[in-house]
Symmetry: D2
């Protein structure tokens, strides 16, 4: 369960409130504001605040380009133009804040995106909850043989059982020992009055990387899309990809025009190297090429053919 | 005049609109949203969007510090605690967007604050208006003799007259020649059909640094306060300080508790060097000190005595 | 003339010095260290310090990817792999510092790249030299008719003469008046003892955007390549492009393997949109397409055909 | 043991090399370049590259302030002036790169300093070593009763023994199970040919936060000092403070003048709030104050008196 009944009630209460504002309002995002989308076994992501909408992107672009832009194009066309030409500053004019609950190993990948503001739950100050990520059986994959960072076949049978049991036992044991070392009882009293209890900042080192943490994470629309492009990609680890996928749905609700342009010019787009571009030109001119004659490495040639739908 | 009647009408229209939102609303800032505060001879600053309020700072801090903070202190106490101990990340959870019209030489100082998003009017794409900063007579100061970057006495008499006339004539002449070189007439037709007109990106080099530009400038509350502390300071150039002063009033309207803490722990605060701290301790212990016996340089000793209200 | 004899002597002196270091040394860059490449009429760019080389990129990647990378590939292959897959952090491990002299309007574009460190000559503290950019006659272009930000045909005849004369006269006049208002003579004495002289921070507003400034600009290799990709592009203004072009030659001297990969996967690379990729696939499958049947806008279809060498 | 004999040999080899350079050389740092300072039970920090020295700070400042600075002051005076007045950009002109081995929970605090470049060992690609932090007995502190984030008395007797045993047992068990799940044997063969082995990116979630990781961490001198001021502070957790302390010694070796100014104006400096400054002035004027009459909260009054050496 991702949310306690207490948290669910808090969300309902926040959603029930409404006040007038003179600011830009994004109706699609208002509709889902504060609602938590459950992810993995105990995680979630939800939008807790935002600033701006598709019109704010357009407005910023029109400040930059002045009178010239007024007549040229409608909002959709302008947003697509900006995305296509990597004019990123108008997208930076929108901001969004998420509340995320996620395993620590996912948080460690996520935090590498530096252009964002973060407030994470501190295990120096407070006690972490007894929640840790255990992969679903269908996610229990072997190491990929072809790709050093990827997953291969799903484990099955005895091996799968043994792995799941170890993950669960070790997480439970390390958490139980963490709690014992803390020695914190009800009402701020020690659980065992004979013991002092270990400082929280030390006891936490006994927890595993699958333990859940949570944070507020705030970024602008441009950097959000950078994050989503990288983390919704097939090369991203499954456990962060589910967050990115859920956040793309939130992007759709927030700035539908920017989201559409993002799919066309980023998510679904393809990059051709200088040599790769020559290969495409030569093929269109009727030439038949193989890796050797292409000027590309075997691997790059294979990837290019796959991209072009020319499986061999 | 900072605003055209057209712009004034746009502002009125934006202010007349209102829509319900589930987000945090800052009533003080809503009251002045979109309104332009006129500055210098043609400039202004106004808030065009924001995200969060004092409660959002508190909420972010409580996510970080967890249950522990719940009972400890009220919002005001917690915000002061955060400010005092340089816990800056909760302040980063609030965001604000300004629309600013300002002379180019002010924009050049301002842009040095890198942790912000900017969309500036582009003189490559569009034609700049015929507006340039001419200092008011009481701002026409001589170079300071004691301070390489400051201003001394106000010029007067013939020198003041001559300077004002030169500033005005040169600004008008360079703008007139800019417009002539552009050769842009009504409705996209050339003013003089015999001439091609110089490209905008080139013609603009004829404009002076006093020419007005405008931009959207967006930053978080933490970085806003950094900006304000530096630019509202007595060492900042007068022409940027008037913007910072006006923005501090907007800060008061937006997050009154954070603004109060900002005054106590930043704006009105003092820094003592390691040696300066020893000097204060020795004075409190009854010792009488001069620059030589203080261990400070003469200049630092003088500044410390001024700070402590011990003029000599 | 970009450099005074004094500056030229300083450069010679710096180049004559040599000291042993245990750090990585890039021989190609050592060979040109401190040497100024003249640009435009008074500008230059030169490298004044650096850290790291191609091997430092490889070393950082191997720390990240661990033992696995040891055997896989040689340095060139690994650097190309990193560039191709947008693994940017190893490139951030190299740093470079430039000394640049450039017109203020170019500096205003350049500074928009925020991930860099800058120390600019301050016209609040010091007096700017009497140097301003006047375009060479072959750069005196009209506004492009098809492209709002570009240049069209070169001006000629009377219009060219008039434009050049205006640019020159206005720059000279505004500088002369700047100097008169400053009233600074030899040895710190006023030029005219009857006058106080205007503060430097005010007098400078009389200068035009073509006036030269200078700065130290320091960035890491990843952000340098971002800068170069955007500013060496055909859409960049000519006056900043000449700097980017000169700096690409310095990149070649510094990290030849990274520079080669940069050309293959960035400078010479092409981006296909999701729909554009489908168009290429359909063409390779033998379909004949026009704008209408392609699903692309007319403009995007035209650009794609140009990219693919299929002019119409 | 922090370093394997293999690593120690690599360091010796790197230190034995020397090549001539035209760049600025910092002799104090050259003397210790590459050498690892052992920290905690398995960690270390070492400098692996740098750019600039005290003279580079001065040089950058002189570019900014121009001719005016030439005569004013010697290098030491100028560097102290810059530090005192928070003129940070000249310090950004120096860059340094560390290689650090550290427990994951320390890495999680460290990474919050965003203005730095990082290449961390990836547990998606490679297998982490069997090394985890176990606090020394004298570091095994209880939770502070007065301070939610601090440490109180050192544990002793049975409780200390039990805690150490738990930390050790859990770390060993989770690592052993991690290795078993990976099923990686010698030469890339599976340890048990009957099992597939779990993907590395999943197996790592079984490791505890005390497990050691390593990274290259590169930053500029200004941001390094920000990091050191916060992490060498008494409020920082002991396990990160030992790294900061070791790095301050490296700062001394690199830029001795900047390091001295850093101690005077940052590390040993004190901040007075607006009200605190009034309290000091009133005390110097002979007034006797207590918390109630001071206008400060009891806590702030107590802290101020402690700062001023006026214990009660």
């Amino acid at each position: 369960m991702s949310l306690t009944p207490e948290q669910q009630a808090e969300i309902e209460a926040a959603r029930a409130q409404s006040a007038p504002t003179r600011r830009a309002v994004a109706p699609g995002l208002e509709a889902i504001l504060y609602e938590a989308v459950p992810l993995l076994d105990h995680g979630f992501v939800r939008v807790v605040d935002y600033m701006g909408d598709d019109a704010a992107i357009v407005q910023a672009a029109r400040v930059s380009y002045g009178r010239g832009t007024r007549k040229v194009s409608d909002d959709r066309g302008l947003i697509r133009y900006l995305m296509r030409h990597y004019h990123s500053t108008p997208f930076e004019m929108c901001e969004i804040k998420f509340h995320v609950k996620l395993p620590i190993f996912v948080a460690r990948q996520w935090i590498r995106h530096r252009t964002a503001n973060v407030n994470e739950y501190s295990a120096r100050y407070s006690v972490l909850d007894r929640e840790f990520y255990i992969p679903a059986p269908e996610q229990l994959a072997a190491q990929s043989l072809s790709n050093r960072q990827g997953r291969g076949h799903v484990l099955s049978g005895d091996e799968a059982d043994a792995v799941l049991r170890l993950l669960k036992d070790d997480a439970e044991r390390t958490y139980r020992d963490y709690a014992w070392m803390l020695n914190e009882g009800e009402n701020g009293e020690p659980a065992d009055p004979e013991r002092q209890g270990l400082a929280r900042e030390l006891a936490r080192i006994n927890l595993t990387l699958g333990t859940y943490t949570q944070w507020y994470w705030k970024t602008d629309l441009h950097n959000l899309m950078n994050f989503l492009r990288l983390r919704a990609d097939g090369h991203a680890q499954y456990e962060i990809r589910v967050y990115a996928d859920a956040m793309i749905a939130m992007l759709d609700a927030w700035t539908p025009l920017a989201a559409e342009a993002f799919r066309e010019y980023r998510l679904g787009a393809a990059q051709l190297s200088a040599t790769g571009l020559q290969v495409v030109r030569r093929m269109l001119a009727g030439e038949t090429l193989d890796a050797a004659s292409s000027g590309l490495s075997k691997r790059e040639f294979g990837e290019l053919m796959a991209l072009l739908g020319r499986g061999q």
